[in-house]
């Protein structure tokens, strides 16, 4: 899948989630962008969702920007995982 198509799919999933007023779909769009490696798009979606939904209530109030953090963590995890895979199988990647 090319990167631009991956980004487009992530944005479509986000848009459908917002139109249908169903937040898990919007989060799925963010995760899709992060897993694809489109970290700029993932962080932008995270910031957008944090501005839209505000600070979490209750126990997770301390997170302040949970969806931006989620995007950063997933991107960082993907980066580390791919790095390890490249080291072990340099010929394949």
């Amino acid at each position: 899948m090319s990167r631009s198509i991956g980004s487009l799919i992530a944005l479509i999933i986000l848009l459908v989630g917002l139109l249908l007023s169903f937040w898990p779909l919007a989060v799925l769009g963010l995760l899709f962008a992060a897993i694809q490696g489109r970290w700029v798009l993932a962080v932008c979606i995270g910031i957008f969702l944090d501005l839209l939904w505000g600070t979490p209530t209750g126990f997770f109030h301390f997170l302040l920007l949970p969806w931006t953090l989620c995007a950063c963590v997933v991107v960082a995890f993907r980066h580390m995982l791919l790095g390890r895979i490249r080291l072990r199988m340099p010929d394949r990647l």
């Binding site: 917002l18 007023s21 501005l51 839209l52 939904w53 505000g54 209530t57 126990f59 960082a76 580390m80």
Partner: protein, 263 residues
């Protein structure tokens, strides 16, 4: 000549890349945290228009709903309206008596209210909050009470922007409030209620407190106002406390309009 293995070079590049990505991430987070109030204000100026257009489109799409389903819903709503009209008349009479009494005792309980339209509610967002279309430009301030209509309170204003506000419901998980349990024998017991999400709350009271299903939980203020009703009482044997399960009398996630009560 010193030879470096390709693997070591790759590892070094990957490490540098990770450090750069991490630093950029931290910088972005710090920037957003510092600029958050300004960004949210600006964002909601634009998004409130989008949300209102979306609501209008939703209203336009209604004619496509099944006619039979609409007729059936209409019949049910007519019946509910008939039964609540009588209750409303009774309530209005009692409310007027309360206002008269407060006026005589020089404690005028009349309050200015601002009507707001609910722009966003769960499941559009993952937290038990509403976003309404009135903000500081309409005179809303933080901690204003929000009601579903009359004295049926559902939450408080937690964040105010120029044209929108965020309302945290009483039933939001993790939120606790002081309230009064109005028992059927007329006693008022101070209790602490905790939100469980989805319009549900819970409270623990000592065994022996006169609590039964149907009792009201009211705000501990002069104007009172119902917050919830007792839906179940669980009193395990050999325990010092009994658990009261409370439910908001109105489904907060079906509300389209709310009233903001000015402090």
């Amino acid at each position: 000549m010193k030879m470096t293995s390709p693997n070591r070079e790759k590892r070094s590049k990957i490490r540098h890349g990770s450090v750069v990505v991490a630093l950029l991430g931290v910088l972005i987070l710090i920037g957003v945290l510092i600029l958050r109030p300004t960004l949210e204000n600006f964002f909601w100026r634009i998004w409130s228009q989008v949300a209102q257009v979306r609501m209008t489109l939703g209203d336009v799409a209604n004619p496509f709903a099944s006619k039979a389903a609409l007729e059936k819903e209409n019949t049910i709503l007519q019946a509910e309206l008939a039964s609540t009209t009588a209750l409303l008349a009774d309530r209005n009479m009692l409310y007027q008596e309360t206002l008269d009494l407060e006026n005589r005792l020089s404690r005028n309980g009349s309050t200015k209210t601002i009507l707001g339209v609910v722009l966003m509610r769960p499941p559009a967002l993952p937290y038990d909050v509403f976003v309404i279309d009135v903000g500081s430009s309409n005179g809303v301030i933080t901690n204003d009470l929000v009601s579903a209509g009359g004295t049926l309170f559902i939450g408080i204003v937690s964040q105010v922007y120029d044209t929108t506000s965020r309302v945290t419901l009483f039933s939001t998980p993790g939120e606790t409030y002081a309230a009064l349990l109005h028992s059927q024998n007329g006693t008022l017991t101070p209790i602490s209620i905790e939100g469980q999400g989805g319009g549900s709350l819970v409270s623990k009271v000592p065994i022996g407190v006169a609590a039964s299903v149907g009792d009201s939980v009211v705000l501990p203020t002069l104007s009172g106002g119902i917050m919830a009703t007792v839906s179940a009482v669980v009193a395990p044997q050999d325990q010092s406390f009994e658990t009261l399960y409370l439910q908001m009398p109105v489904n907060p996630f079906a509300l389209q309009y709310v009233e903001v009560w000015k402090q």
